[in-house]
Subunit: 288 residues, 2 copies
């Protein structure tokens, strides 16, 4: 990473942090004024979003925004960079429920946090189901924040429409990826092949981690064409798949104090990563 | 209900049905072309949305749209009427998970449908958790459909921005209502009073069932003012609370073959309805 590049990433992180903090502060007041107990929602949503995250997606929004005119004012695109990180938080909150993950970004996942809160407050009933239910609510809340933050961009009507259509298409593709991922995790290893795993990576990771931010950034620059969007896609998808393969490696061999993720949760949840598929194929018959 | 009024409701139902069917058909193709197994998502989302529903919210969109000019072409607002019904489906799918409801609109709820599908396909693992996970995905999918359908409206940039901001505010308010509802269901009866219950009805029902459709319709007419929105709110909230109180009565005393809802699920899930709060207050001490 060159000096310029890493300076830019630091700048992106600062802008996203400041912008998100301001939005959460506003929502904390809205929630408090509705009923003081409701503050829990923006408080945990904020903590979860601000306690970590590489801001890779926000950075890629900027790359897309600059794809035809490098160096344009970042300020005009800060709401898009921040909104895409709310999208990421939303997907992680729901994903963690499905994967039964307990730790994320060096702290408890949202459903685990609510389960603890249920016990602290001595609520009656099933605290584990309560935790899942409130985490569904908080995920939904974060998704609405992504959309409302996008709407703060000052764009002409046709660009805003295009932006919303690409964003919602991105959400559908993530749903397809998540559905396939859940289904593969419930199938025996011998029924899953490399092509299935790569399709999940393409749908679940590459599309919204790389392609979507680049596309949204390009739309926000108002200098987009179908041709530019295709060009961006052509490297976004392979780069996104590579990103996921690296993430799978870190999930098994990474240092949790650096990655903020528990080791081995993919294996415990019977995730069909390429590592597992290859290991199964190479294993001598008695180990299959 | 006058003849004209019920004719209009029938017309609204027809338009929503046709428009939604066309959108689901398009998404069925998108899903199939991505991977044939993915058709399950639009298929269950479509079945759940089209198998019932009063289309009250779509009707109220039209009332809002006509609030300053009665009788304008319905066709221009059909995507808003349909999108609001996707919002309703999304909220029901997630709500049913939280409330552990098994029947809705005369058929299985989405998580129950996926749990059965898991058993039919002899998938390995916890089919109940699988059902919940896939239903979270389908709810999220339906929410993205609401937003993408709104974006088909041809509105000037400022009206589209206002529409998205009111819509996302509506989603936040529903989250607040859902959070309070879940929390009250975990508190002992003696700690819950009438004001808490009415707040939940205001946040969870009145806001998105009555106020939001009226507001969005008014915005789409491009003849809105802050004054008009306040006027609409002033009767939307009391009407919405009344709607919920009636729904609670039907939930306990209604005929499931007409309502499509199981009897008594509120009581089983320890929902703090006004009926339950009043019954508790009036009960002689030994029954408390």
């Amino acid at each position: 990473m060159s000096g310029d590049f890493s300076d830019l990433l630091i700048e992106v992180r600062r802008i996203v942090h400041e912008t998100a903090k301001g939005i959460f502060e506003e929502l904390r007041r809205e929630a408090h004024n509705t009923h003081p107990e409701l503050e829990d929602i923006p408080v945990i949503a904020s903590d979860f979003t601000l306690r970590g995250g590489k801001r890779l997606r926000a950075f890629l929004v900027l790359v897309g925004y600059w794809s035809r005119e490098w160096g344009k004012s970042i300020d005009e695109v800060k709401y898009l960079m921040t909104g895409i990180e709310f999208l990421q938080s939303y997907l992680l909150v729901h994903d963690d429920i499905m994967d039964r993950d307990e730790v994320r970004r060096g702290g408890p996942t949202v459903h685990v946090w609510f389960t603890s809160r249920c016990r602290e407050k001595s609520l009656l009933g099933d605290c584990s189901h309560y935790g899942i239910s409130q985490a569904i609510v908080v995920g939904d809340y974060l998704e609405s924040m992504a959309v409302s933050t996008f709407s703060k961009l000052e764009l002409p009507a046709n660009a805003m429409t295009k932006l919303i259509q690409l964003y919602t298409r991105g959400l559908r593709i993530v749903s397809y990826g998540q559905y396939m991922d859940l289904m593969l995790s419930m199938k025996p290893l011998r029924e899953v092949d490399e092509a299935d795993v790569l399709l999940v990576h393409k749908l679940k990771t590459a599309s919204y981690t790389v392609e979507l931010p680049l596309h949204l950034g390009a739309i926000a620059s108002c200098k987009y064409s179908d041709n530019l969007l295709h060009e961006l896609t052509s490297y976004a998808i392979p780069a996104g798949i590579a990103f996921q393969l690296r993430d799978d490696l870190l999930g098994l061999f990474g240092d949790p104090s650096i990655t903020g993720k528990p080791v081995g949760s993919d294996v415990r949840e019977k995730k069909k990563t390429l590592l597992v598929i290859k290991a199964y194929k190479e294993a001598p018959p008695p180990y299959k």
